[in-house]
């Protein structure tokens, strides 16, 4: 009996080892371990054995054989599964560099990229972003900014005027804003201080285009109005911006200049890590007349303003040799950034 069991076990194991597919393993499992399988058949014969010891020995031999065959089936199953996966992986081989499709992502305009970077830096410094119309009134663009009729500084703006005239209003008093400063006035008239805003936007000058000038370009303007805002706060804000935007190893300075809408006025320069200076923009303490035009009492409130070109930030960042290239809309330019 024991020998019979041994032989059946060996035969089964040989069959399992020879199985060459997952299906045949499954089939063998039913064949070998099912009720009609050889081992099950042998089990039924145990009752015919004469002694208890014989029954015991044969019984445990059969059980052991069943266990061994079950394990062999499982093992063979795993072996074949892994081989099948490996074969599939092998079969699916591709050359990734064959798939050289053009990238499909779009490209934001370089000016937008600079614009958003600037906004983000100022948001981090506690500023909100304000906007205003591009077609403006003479009052918002000049008069409220301490440049009344006939002010000589008006001539320096090369203003483009448009033929819009409000009903019952004067013609020749509507223009394309020459700077983002009218947003200062609109903000002051619309909201109570404290005011911490930057106003990025499109501005216009009657300038013949060349490598460094466009008649349509972009500026960002900052305005802070609060109690006891000082010129040291202006210098500190410019410094904080410089480090946040250009890098910790850049610094800034103010030097006296003149703008009708600020007093004291300053130009601000930034110093590169190599020690060289770059003139960046204009700034100053908001002129009392501008605060008054904005409906604020200069004895109660003080503030500062600053402004500079956005296009120039893009030009500098990407070493664009000719600013006009930024506005041709040649996709070969747009896709570079």
């Amino acid at each position: 009996m024991i020998d019979e069991i041994g032989a059946a076990r060996e035969t089964a194991l040989t069959q399992v080892a020879a199985a060459d597919s997952l299906e045949s393993v499954t089939m063998l499992g039913t064949q070998l371990l099912g009720k009609k399988g050889p081992l099950a058949q042998l089990k039924t014969k145990l009752g015919g054995l004469s002694t208890v010891d014989e029954k015991k020995a044969a019984g445990s031999a059969v059980n052991e054989a069943i266990q061994v065959v079950t394990a062999a089936l499982e093992f063979r199953n795993i072996e074949l599964s892994e081989a099948a996966l490996a074969a599939r992986v092998q079969f699916e081989s591709i050359d990734l560099t064959e798939y050289a499709d053009r990238p499909t992502r779009g490209h934001a305009h370089v000016v937008t990229q600079a614009w958003e970077r600037l906004e983000d830096v100022f948001i981090g410094l506690g500023f909100q972003v304000a906007e205003g119309p591009e077609v403006e009134t003479d009052w918002h663009n000049f008069e409220a900014l301490n440049m009344g009729e006939g002010h000589p500084a008006r001539g320096e703006f090369d203003t483009l005027f448009v033929d819009h005239a409000p009903a019952g209003g004067q013609p020749g008093r509507t223009l394309l804003r020459t700077h983002t400063s009218p947003v200062q006035i609109r903000t002051m008239l619309e909201q109570e201080p404290p005011i911490y805003i930057v106003a990025p936007g499109r501005v216009f000058r009657r300038d013949t285009p060349d490598a460094t000038h466009m008649p349509v370009f972009h500026q960002i303007e900052g305005l802070v109005i609060d109690r006891n805002i000082t010129m040291a706060d202006l210098a500190g804000t410019i410094e904080a911006f410089t480090k946040a935007f250009f890098g910790a190893d850049f610094s800034s300075r103010l030097r006296p200049s003149y703008f009708p809408f600020t007093e004291p006025s300053a130009e601000f320069d930034i110093q590169r890590p190599d020690g060289s200076w770059l003139e960046l923009g204009g700034c100053g303490m908001v002129h009392p007349n501008v605060l008054i035009a904005g409906g604020l009492d200069p004895e109660q409130w003080s503030g500062f303003a600053f402004g500079f070109g956005i296009d120039r930030m893009a030009v500098m960042r990407h070493q664009v040799a000719d600013i006009r290239d930024m506005y041709v809309n040649d996709i070969r330019f747009i896709e570079q950034f």
């Binding site: 499909t104 006939g150 009903a167 911490y196 349509v216 300075r253």
Partner: protein, 788 residues
């Protein structure tokens, strides 16, 4: 403003021109005061190898008309022969000779060269070739008696010098003269400021040029002074050198002195030949309309009553007040007696006249910024003093006329200045005692006691009026760099507004969809909009640079179509572009109906591609609109476009561009397009999506195909199915559209897959049957039949 250091040093010991460290320190001080040093140039370097030589003979060569042969003596007993292209010199003149081996400032080396086989032994030099100003009208003739064979620099007394190019801001009219700059810089450096203060001393008999000041509001002061005994000739060498260094030409002693006084004291002045002055006096009045005069530059000018004219006593115009003199009274070589006019003109009058005539002069630049009406007396005396150097017989006649008008600024102005206010604005901790030290040296004299002081505003600072102007002076002289850097404690939280956030979200979505951002010109040519099928009123620029850029766009479409055409012409097709920008249709309000818009164009794509973009935007921004194909947006494809209608106003358009428009723009591909009014789309506050539980129950799919006429939009059928199917329908997908003869002309089959699912239970067969019945009944109401 070009400033020569050696000249500036007349008014204080600013810096030794050969001391580079001192020169740089001076430049830093000037920049720190707001007198930005744009450029710093070393001048007065002489060219080595150029020596003095006397002309012995001038000989014309028969075959060379444009050059002559010059024989010179350089003091070494050897006569040299030189070819020369200039003809301004005579035998006996001493001239600079560049000898062999000399490297000229322009890089040329003087070598033995010949013309017609005859060698030249060097080159005679013009002033500009030696770095002495810009004069190239002839060879430099040196003073008589100059020794021969010595370096020309030694002969001319040329010293190393520095030329500063200062960027003077509009609020500093005083710095258009040396004295104003010297005063400011000396105060900052804490050194003595030496101001020329000669007093006028008349040494001749009474002789006046009467002044009739008629329009005294435009001319606050007009003085005339008669000077005789004049011999017209060249001015002193030192004066010529200084004028030339700053870029002026040396003309004659009278003109040069006039210019010198202007540069020194910032006081323009004009000398008339008394003999040409009709009636021997002046009338100062506004012009009559159309009145004419020939100005010094030779042009004939026509005037209006806003212009101020200076006329002689016979009322003949002889000058434009503060702008330019007339040709008719110019000084000539025969002049012996002049009338010196020094006046103060109202800045705005000068500005308006000079800009209207397009006529800018050294005088108008100064007057329009504002001169000091009380420096006139010094200027008269200085003029006489300097002219006497070359006119030893000069007579200054008694009887100077000083006519004053109501436009004359007050001699004494002042502002009340609070120390608290200074500190509030500057963030300083100054006290009243600090003020005199900062302000007195620049003429802002501080008086009074306590924390509120009176500060006199000097007459040379017309820009300065109020307390804040004085605070600026305090800041400049205290030093901007010393103000410190603090950061205000913002009580506002930094953020984008909701609309700005939504704009960024929109842009990011479009970029993600593979669209690139363009920025076309917002100015269009007059016919561009109608080419795009967008007729209608527009706003025009009244003073455009060019007419092709004179109309404000009312749509972003033309700019993007031009961009597509441009790129197609450079063999880049299939462009997908968008722009977010302002458009400016006319309006009846204070300003036009300007608003923000989006335009998306996709070359080579059809209308459904634009619809897909619209759906993405609608989903992302939580907005919706009815796609109304019943109305064709202007300029778009009549059967492939729709108005997007949200509420009462159309909020956009979607579809394809009309092929005729494409043809007119030179675009060869089809163009899918989406246009949105972003004031509508971004302006709507987003509604955050409310949570719906995700069902864990099994789902089941049901496919239904309907046959329907082309005249009913698929969107309507979809809506009907959703309605009819009820709330077990969780997803609806149009997976097939079929047209064929079997269905009949103008009909199509639309096949939908409905996914059904309940939130809380398994679906039963009767659930599915109910959904099916509901959908079929709803579809039937639109005339859609279930396909068998």
């Amino acid at each position: 403003m070009k400033i020569l250091l050696s000249w500036l040093n007349e008014y204080g010991d600013f810096a030794d021109p050969t001391n580079a460290v001192a020169v740089q320190r001076l430049a830093d001080v000037m920049t720190g005061l707001g007198l930005e040093v744009g450029n710093l140039e070393f001048v007065g370097d002489t060219v080595e190898g150029v020596i003095t030589a006397r002309i012995n003979r001038l000989v014309q060569h028969p075959d060379a008309a444009k050059v002559q042969r010059v024989y010179v003596d350089a003091g070494d007993g050897h006569e040299r022969h030189v070819w020369c292209g200039a003809f301004n010199m005579a035998e006996g003149d001493v001239v600079p000779l560049a000898t062999f081996g000399t490297v000229m400032p322009n890089g040329m080396t003087i070598e033995r060269r010949g013309i017609l086989g005859i060698d030249s032994e060097g080159m005679l030099c013009a002033p500009d070739e030696l770095g002495l100003g810009s004069d190239h009208s002839g060879i430099l003739i040196m003073p008589e008696g100059t020794p021969l064979g010595i370096p020309y620099g030694e002969a001319l007394g040329v010293q190393p010098d520095i030329l500063f190019d200062l960027d003077v801001t509009r609020n500093r009219p005083d710095c258009w003269g040396y004295v104003g700059i010297a005063r400011d810089v000396a105060a900052q450096m804490g050194i003595e400021f030496r101001q020329p203060k000669p007093a006028l001393a008349a040494d001749g008999d009474q002789r006046s040029a009467p002044v009739e000041l008629i329009d005294g509001d435009k001319c606050g002061r007009f003085t005339s002074l008669v000077l005789s005994g004049i011999e017209i000739g060249p001015s002193a060498d030192w004066m010529q050198r200084r004028l030339m260094a700053g870029g002026m030409r040396a003309i004659s002693n009278v003109v040069d002195v006039s210019n010198y006084v202007m540069l020194e004291l910032n006081q323009p002045n004009h000398a008339y030949d008394l003999d040409t002055l009709g009636g021997g006096g002046f009338r100062v009045r506004v012009a009559t309309d159309g009145e004419q005069m020939q100005t010094l530059d030779g042009d004939s000018r026509s005037f209006t009553p806003t212009d101020l004219l200076i006329c002689d006593a016979t009322d003949r115009p002889i000058g434009i007040g503060g702008v330019m003199g007339g040709l008719n009274t110019e000084i000539t070589e025969a002049t012996t007696t002049v009338v010196l006019e020094i006046a103060w003109f109202q800045p705005l009058t000068v500005l308006q006249t000079s800009s209207r005539l397009g006529l800018r002069s050294e005088a108008s630049a100064r007057y329009e910024r504002g001169c000091d009406p009380y420096i006139i007396d010094t200027a008269q005396a200085r003029f006489a003093e300097l002219l006497r150097e070359t006119c030893p017989n000069l007579v200054v006649h008694a009887g100077m006329i000083d006519a004053r008008g109501p436009g004359l600024p007050e001699p004494e102005r002042s502002a009340t200045v609070r120390v608290m206010e200074i500190n509030r604005i500057l963030g300083t901790q100054l006290d009243a005692g600090d003020l005199p030290g900062l302000l007195d040296p620049i003429g802002f004299t501080v008086t009074g006691v306590g924390d509120t002081r009176r500060v006199a505003i000097p007459s040379w600072r017309p820009d300065s009026e109020a307390e804040i102007d004085v605070i600026e002076e305090v800041a400049r002289h205290y030093g901007y760099a010393k103000l410190g850097k603090t950061v205000p404690k913002s009580t506002v939280h930094g953020a984008l507004s909701v609309r700005q956030q939504r704009r960024r979200q929109l842009r990011q979505l479009l970029l993600g969809l593979g669209l690139s951002e363009a920025m076309p010109n917002p100015f269009l040519a007059p016919d561009t909009l109608s080419k795009a099928g967008l007729d209608g009123p527009t706003i025009r620029i009244t003073n455009p640079l060019i007419v092709e850029e004179s109309v404000l766009r009312t749509s972003l479409r033309p700019g993007l179509l031009e961009s597509i055409a441009y790129n197609e012409s450079h063999r880049r097709t299939g462009l997908k572009l968008f722009e977010i920008g302002h458009v400016y249709p006319p309006g009846n309000g204070e300003l036009p109906d300007e608003h923000e818009a989006l335009c998306v164009v996709m070359a080579g794509s059809q209308a459904p591609a634009a619809m897909a973009v619209w759906r993405e935007i609608a989903n992302t921004l939580g907005v919706g609109a009815r796609v109304d194909q019943g109305r064709v947006p202007p300029g778009l494809h009549a059967t492939r476009s729709a108005v997007l209608q949200a509420g009462k106003q159309p909020s956009g358009a979607v579809g394809e561009v009309d092929p005729g428009v494409l043809h007119r723009f030179g675009v060869n591909e089809r163009v899918a397009i989406l246009e949105l009014n972003l004031d509508e789309v971004l302006g709507r506050p987003p509604k955050p999506a409310a949570w719906k539980p995700v069902s864990r129950m099994p789902s089941s799919d049901l496919d239904l195909a309907f046959v329907m006429g082309d005249d009913v939009p698929a969107e309507k059928l979809e809506r009907a199915i959703r309605q009819g199917a009820g709330n077990l329908l969780v997803d609806l997908d149009l997976f097939d559209v079929f047209r064929g003869a079997a269905l009949g002309e103008g009909r199509r089959s639309l096949a939908y897959r409905l996914r059904l699912q309940a939130a809380d239970r398994n679906l039963t067969d009767s659930d599915i049957a109910d959904v099916r019945r509901g959908a079929v009944v709803a579809a039937a109401k639109l005339g859609a039949q279930l396909r068998g």
